[in-house]
């Protein structure tokens, strides 16, 4: 759907009070940009999102919930010279849209003149044909098929072990989203993407201890969720293996983050390399470009073109063509990530990392971030570490990308001589992001693309654990 620059079809033909054709996001974006121009905006950009979603939940073999959703919204950012404001709505009545855009232009008169504010300098075509990023959906499942898949997953989990005594249920969901972005320079492109998820969560009991865990899969096609039985079994085995958890003695130990928790650890880095945080003095990485910020074994790449990955996109939140980049090369920080505003403010170029939501102007964000895998299996990584903690869950919000201070609650498994001995709960891990990233002495080979941030297992030397 790689459309050329649109013709400026006048929208004034729409009758007063009539509805814009909702099937057509491009029509809606064109209409609102024209309304902004008519209201006196000097430039503007607009985002249209629409989606259909269906979620089913089963619990103990019975249907528990069926949710159906059809939603859409449009947001516009208007400029009055170097001043800006933004508005968004889910009401597509043309009278309402016009008066909202007028309100936006009026609000913009009161915000501060900002020499760095504005659209990108020029428009460029998207980096890639969206059809190559988002595979065409084949089979579109009925509600009954969604239910069947959730039931299969839950039944497998409930039958896994007699210690599985209760269920939080299994959910299967499909969604399809249409994204259209346009600006007054003439950019107008869109793409559609679909997503399927299947998740299952069960409860295991022994004596007076009760533990819950889950597993999920997601992907762009119905086929992504087809191993529903395996998913249920994995959820159940993760849950049962938590039974018998106890605390460990306070101390400093080697810690292995499994791919799920490593993902969370790397996610904080994605926040700290934001150009917005840089100009606000709000990142511990300030002044560190070109110098080591991680262990030399670490290389991080951003890839917006991974087929079917959740962060993939042909253009960023300002319509600039996305591109691949190496963010950390052998431990050395190559670049911060910029949108147009943070780049202008710091005398740099946008790295096409603008992200956009309906209600607000652009900010900085990542598409898909990947930590390059190593050669060791998780087992071999445990052997290499000898004695320590394998972390499989992190809870809480005790991380600051301003100072780099890190302190979170954790669940995991104690291992000695590379062999797992028992589960561990009610402990915290603490340090600074800077030390933790520098102390990643090895990575596993177990990289899987499950999300927009992806990492293999990471072995961190010497992390402070608070327990007994």
């Amino acid at each position: 759907m790689n459309k050329s620059i649109p013709s400026t079809r006048p929208s004034t033909g729409l009758a007063k009070g009539s509805k814009i054709n909702l099937e057509d996001g491009e029509e809606a974006v064109r209409y609102i940009l024209e309304a902004a121009r008519a209201a006196g905006a000097t430039s503007a950009d607009a985002l249209y999102l629409s989606g259909v979603e269906e979620t089913v939940g089963v619990r103990k073999g019975e249907i528990e919930k069926v949710h159906a959703a059809q939603s859409r919204g449009i947001g516009i950012r208007v400029f009055a010279g170097q001043r800006q404001s933004s508005v968004a709505t889910s009401d597509f009545g043309t009278d309402h849209l016009k008066s909202l855009v007028e309100r936006a232009v009026a609000m913009a008169q009161h915000t501060a003149e900002d020499p760095y504010a504005g659209l990108p300098d020029r428009i460029l075509p998207p980096a890639i044909d969206p059809d190559r990023l988002f595979p065409e959906e084949g089979h579109i499942p009925s509600r009954d098929e969604l239910i069947e898949r959730a039931k299969t997953a839950e039944a497998a989990a409930l039958g896994f072990d007699s210690r599985i005594t209760n269920s939080e249920g299994a959910e299967c969901a499909r969604s399809r989203t249409h994204v259209v972005f346009g600006n007054s320079l003439g950019f107008l492109h869109g793409y559609r993407k679909s997503s399927y998820t299947l998740s299952c969560s069960v409860i295991a009991t022994s004596k007076d201890q009760m533990e819950r865990d889950y597993w999920y899969v997601s992907g762009p096609l119905w086929e992504s969720t087809e191993n529903s039985e395996a998913l249920g079994l994995k959820a159940a085995s993760r849950t049962v293996s938590r039974l018998g958890a106890r605390r460990i003695k306070t101390g400093t130990y080697p810690v292995i983050f499994d791919p799920e928790t490593a993902r969370s650890l790397i996610g904080h880095f994605a926040g700290a390399v934001s150009g917005s945080a840089l100009y606000r003095n709000a990142t511990y990485l300030k002044g560190r470009e070109g110098s080591p910020v991680m262990n030399p074994c670490m290389t991080l790449r951003e890839d917006p073109f991974l087929s079917g990955a959740p962060g993939s996109r042909p253009f960023d939140g300002e319509g600039l063509p996305t591109r691949k980049k190496t963010v950390v090369d052998a431990g050395v920080l190559q670049t911060f990530l910029f949108d147009t505003y943070s780049a202008r403010k710091l005398g740099r170029q946008s790295t096409a990392n603008a992200v956009r939501s309906l209600g607000d102007g652009p900010g900085v964000g990542i598409s898909n971030l990947i930590v390059e895998p190593g050669t060791l299996s998780q087992e071999a990584l445990l052997k290499k570490a000898g004695t320590g903690l394998l972390v499989t869950e992190l809870i809480g919000f005790g991380v600051s990308t301003v100072t780099g201070d890190y302190s979170r609650g954790a669940f995991g498994y104690w291992f000695e001589d590379g062999v797992i001995l028992h589960p561990v709960s009610e402990i915290t891990l603490a340090g600074t992001l800077d030390e933790i990233y520098k102390n990643v002495v090895d990575r596993g080979s177990d990289l899987e693309i499950r999300s927009s941030i992806n990492s293999p297992s990471l072995l961190v030397e010497g992390l402070r654990i608070a327990g007994e």
Binding site: I63, Q70, G398, S407, G409, E426
Partner: protein, 478 residues
């Protein structure tokens, strides 16, 4: 307040008769226990400042109708953003497929839309109605005040947000309830720098209040002083010790302990399903006899307060724990029915696009009799935690965490120095049994709490007196 009883009738396209026809579809087929339509129209406005400039301003309007059909443990739910009788009927039809016996019964006789009995947020001076420059001036004042407090302040970020939500709940019993719910929020966040040491400090304030409450010079001065003070404290903070130790929690927002450690575990859905660490424990001792904890949705003007919950049930003051004994759970209509009890007015939803769950309102520990100074003086070696960031809980295992943002190391009852933020971790069913002392200085938080559950966010409040809790695990670095 203007007449809101006709608000949605005026917004739905087509004649009034066709809306009435659509609403008549709420009629229950044989195997349905409950059903409702939730009309919502919300306007939000936000302003933000950084680098001394108000760079962003904006407004969002969202409106829609959620249709819900409940049959036993099952919920069918659909929503539409188009307020037309046809779309509302389609949403209901989609939701109704969950129940067997899809044929509608007799259309309901609907009452005239009625206002709730409570009036907890009688606004006369709505922020949305005030001219834009007045709101921008507030942020400019904040920037000036913060920078005047200290030359070490290198960045001031501040934001204002106002919301007005109008709802109309059409219930299966024919009752129609309307309410108009305001929400205001001010946030001040500063970064202070000394050499290479950069630290943050922040302060938030809000509630279901008038504009004049948020804009008062006294309020703004206090917010700025607090944000800068916290950044200064953090500039001199030393690494926090790690391990199990005794902790004194200050009054107000540290009440997030109650929210995470026990509040979620007492929500009706988890207890009906038997998945909470508190399941089946009514009547048992779960806290020290010093502890009495309530969830109170009826405190005027508070962020967690509501005249009626999102099912039209009036909110109330529910005793959760009385002198250490577990007394009750938080219920919505579905879970109450399945557990053979009554809704406590805790059925809440984020918006028309989300379905109802039992949620907290304002969760508060009642004051004790001990002088707070005496509590701090009793601490041999431990942490005095005055302010917190967020928290999280695993309902099933009971393990919870919350993160300190302002804390001090104490020896022999004396504050020695501030410590860096660290996470505290504990076990919900145990932690309140370890409460040794409860102060007389109960205070509510300043109106900043947002609770997340199953992907839905709702505003909540907490309240706590100074308390001493023994044997919490402190996640420091030394």
């Amino acid at each position: 307040m203007s007449d809101i009883s006709r608000f949605f009738e005026d917004r739905v396209e087509g004649s009034q008769e066709s809306l009435a026809t659509a609403l008549g579809q709420v009629a229950l087929p044989s195997e349905v226990d409950d059903a409702d339509l939730y009309f919502e129209h919300t306007t939000r406005e936000h302003y933000s400042l950084e680098d001394g400039l108000v760079k962003k301003a904006g407004q969002e309007v969202s409106q829609g109708v959620g249709a819900r059909i409940v049959s036993g443990e099952k919920t069918g739910f659909a929503f539409t953003e188009e307020l037309s009788p046809r779309q509302i009927a389609l949403a209901l039809e989609s939701a109704r497929r969950i129940a067997r016996g899809s044929g509608g019964g007799q259309p309901l006789a609907l009452s005239r839309p009625g206002r709730p009995g409570l009036d907890l947020y009688p606004t006369t001076d709505l922020a949305l109605d005030r001219p834009v420059p007045e709101k921008i001036e507030i942020l400019a004042t904040i920037d000036r005040l913060c920078r005047k407090e200290s030359s070490r302040v290198v960045q001031v970020m501040a934001s204002l947000a106002f919301e007005q939500k109008t709802i109309q709940i059409v219930r299966a019993d024919g009752q129609v309830v309307v309410d108009r719910i305001p929400l205001t929020r001010l946030n001040v966040s500063v970064i202070a720098q000394e050499g290479e040491n950069r630290q943050t400090g922040s302060y938030g304030w809000g509630g279901r209040t008038d504009f004049s409450a948020i804009a008062s010079p006294k309020n703004l001065a206090h917010a700025c002083r607090e944000a800068v003070r916290m950044a200064m404290v953090n500039l001199s903070a030393r690494p926090c010790p790690s391990g199990t130790m005794d902790v004194v929690l200050g009054p107000g927002w540290p009440g997030i302990l109650l929210h995470e450690a026990i509040g979620h575990g007492l929500e009706g859905d988890f207890n009906r399903k038997g998945t909470s660490a508190f399941s089946g424990r009514i009547g048992q001792r779960v806290a020290s006899p010093l502890c009495t904890i309530v969830d109170d949705g009826t405190i005027p003007g508070r962020r967690g307060s509501l005249n009626v919950d999102d099912e039209g049930t009036p909110t109330q003051r529910t005793v959760l724990i009385e002198n250490g004994i577990l007394k009750g759970y938080l219920q919505d209509r579905q879970n109450a029915r399945l557990m053979g009890t009554r809704s406590t007015g805790n059925g809440r939803r984020e918006s028309y696009a989300h379905t109802v769950m039992p949620r907290m309102t304002n969760t508060v520990m009642l004051p004790g009799e001990t002088d707070p100074a005496e509590i701090l003086a009793s601490l041999d070696r431990g942490i005095y935690a005055v302010n917190f960031g967020g928290g999280q809980v695993d309902i099933t295992s009971g393990k919870f965490v919350f993160s300190m943002s302002e804390a001090y190391y104490v020896e022999n009852g004396k504050i020695l120095h501030p410590v860096k933020g660290a996470t505290l971790i504990g076990n919900g069913p145990d932690v309140l049994t370890q409460v040794r002392m409860v102060g007389s200085d109960m205070s509510l938080d300043s109106g900043v709490g947002t609770c997340g559950k199953d992907g839905q966010s709702v505003p909540v409040g907490v309240g706590l007196p100074t308390i001493r809790v023994d044997g919490l695990t402190v996640g420091g670095t030394t």
